[in-house]
Amino acid sequence: MMTARNRYGILAPPLAMFALLVLLTLIGPMAWPHNAYDMDFAAVLAPPSWDHPMGTDANGRDVLARFLDGGRLSLLVGVVVMVGGLVPGALLGILAARLGGVVDAFVMRMSDSIAAFPPILLAMAVAIGLGGGLATAVLGVILSTLPFFARLMRSETRRILAMPFIEAARAMGASPALIVMRHVLPHSASTMLVQSAAVFGYGIATLAGLGFVGLGAPIPTAEWGVMITDGMPYALTGQWWIAVFPGLGILLAVSAANMLADRLSGLLRGDGEEVRP
């Protein structure tokens, strides 16, 4: 028989990956002697060595230092996208489910309209419309996650509000706000957590894609997507290290998030269910 501790043990690998990334990117830049923006023209396009474990790029910048800086930015963006999408999205979902009628129809049609755009293209439209740069790109990515959260929260709220104990709470005189706070939120937390983990990875991947086409972080910024663009002209002339390492970083962060989401949902529902945006 499985003990509770064993069951949750499957969360250890993705959590360990996250811990590694967080430690590396928080402490790494302080401990590592090279800076992400210092150019050393004596060591341009140097292959990986003890001094530069990930080599240097075309401007003689240390790729490891840029990798660590970029990782910090990516993790931060992941968190911002996750929270920025979860809070308003969940609020819209609760309002739609609780009020019904016109509000419900409005929220659902709005999220249909947003979800009709392929997410990264929606983020592009927003970034271009608002003038470009990292902040507008992040705003675009957040906007593209709203439908995932709003729809899920709406169906969760409707499911929970239909349960008998809600009727009991109402009979005891609980106000709608109290019911939402005390019953709906706690009972939907696990589902929203799974979705949030998936969105965390999605945010990192999408921002890197935007950086790759020149709509995310501006050029000298150490950001994983931008770094891959930087390395692209050198990838086929032998200097593989510039583009390969940031891509590995994205792969690691996004896979950790997806794995966490999958395993959490497996634990919470008894088996794996599709949660990807």
Partner: protein, 340 residues
Amino acid sequence: MIRTVLARLGLSLTAALGAALFAFLTLRVGPGDPARLVLGAFASDEAVAALRAEMGLDKPYVVQFVHYIADFVTGDWGKSYAMGEPVRSLLADRFPATIELGLCAFVIAVAMALLCGMVGSYARRDWITRLLRTLASFSIGVPQFWFGLILLMVGFECLGLFPGPVGRLGFGVPPPPSVTGLYTVDALLAGDLATFADACRHLLLPAVTLGLLPFGFLLRLFWANLDDVANEPFVLVGRSRGMTRWQVFRRYVVPNAIVPTLTASGLVLGQMLAGSVLVERVFNWPGAGALVTQGILQQDYSVVQTFILLSAVVYIVANLCVDVLVAAIDPRIARKDTAG
């Protein structure tokens, strides 16, 4: 049935209208003046005002939005100011390349997902399951454009098996006489096998790259569907009547799991359109997606914005078709829709 279709059509129309409104808002709400963006920072205020009037920017937003929709529907998508050509002809020139790439990627993704899903669900060996699960996680976690670059490094630079990022055909190979615009099909129609082989060689790496994400998505879905169906009572009944495990799998499990998977492949279209923007840039594939990245880099946004709204419309139409098809195939869905 007809009621379901009509209701579904209404939803699609509102979604399309909302998407258009959204695209319009991103154009107008931003801090930049579109006329100023076209003419540059050094143009005189009179010139900007004249262009504003020409573009209709001095009219109320509601009028502008109606014009915007009318222009979009009639195919008047504006002009690319960097290239001096109408957006419609630019996109029309580029779409065959994107369609060829997308179709090939789609076929690879669906075929591989069906194959891997069946193997994964049927196999009882742990290492096969684990290998395929890792493959599925990898394909949805890997940044597509980076994966394309890795494929190029290995397939072109190290092994020399595939051509580099030079587009649809090798240097000096003339394109086949245009019938469909798809080089592989055209070459076959012209009976030119050498060109066909060359086009295939150029197509394979970008198509694998573009198909990777849809493959992972469909594989996970199909696998989950297979496992669900395998737990149904009729599977047990089949086994108890003496059918072998393979017979039950082939006759009962796969057909039941395949329908929901194929309907989800409509959803994959959005991923492919977005993916083409990133993947075409890596392979210098001369399609619509590459035109979009070029437009972004040159701050020539009319092409980009048209492509974005167009992809939303294509996505809505594709989903509408899938839903109607599914309702036509499975009467339970139509009944559920009208019931509530």
